[in-house]
Symmetry: C2
Subunit: 96 residues, 2 copies
């Protein structure tokens, strides 16, 4: 299943940028970083359970938020992109 994950984090702090790097690192195991803090992950239920467990350990739940959108099987018809197409290097310095 396709799960869209959006991560809201304060990237003006080094700690926030680090959490974003860690979240990205987990998400790109299962999919694609389509925007700086938006990930499209193709997972089965067991993988998703594992992924979200990891993500929820990484984030600061007092400050950050994660949203999961279950896009279903017909997800390719549900997505449209406008503007710059960036390629993000999950290991590199992030541009925020």
């Amino acid at each position: 299943m396709m799960v869209l994950i959006t991560y809201d984090v304060n990237t003006t702090t080094e700690a926030g940028r680090k959490r974003l790097r860690l979240v990205a690192k987990q998400c790109v195991n299962y999919g694609q970083r389509v925007q700086n803090s938006v990930f499209e992950c193709l997972v089965d239920p067991a993988q998703f359970a594992q992924l979200r467990h990891r993500l929820e350990e990484i984030i600061d739940q007092e400050k950050d938020s994660l949203r999961y959108y279950y896009l279903g099987s017909n997800w390719k018809n549900r997505v449209e992109h406008v503007g710059a197409k960036s390629t993000f290097d999950p290991e590199g310095t992030l541009i925020v």
Copy 2:
């Protein structure tokens, strides 16, 4: 229909922050700012055509990107939130 709009913009610049404010201002006419640059908009096709036209005029298409996710009618079952629940003031200073 529910359209999820994610906006990728460099908010380290004043110009980027301004574009985000303008995008947010348009989106909140139709829905909710659920994260700093993630909006859930309930629109009919005509409203959506108008909204996206405005957004695509605001953004810098060389630098920024917008993604539209058509969540369909069953969208409430497709969304899950973890962590901080922020209320964003679209007119105020944005926390990035």
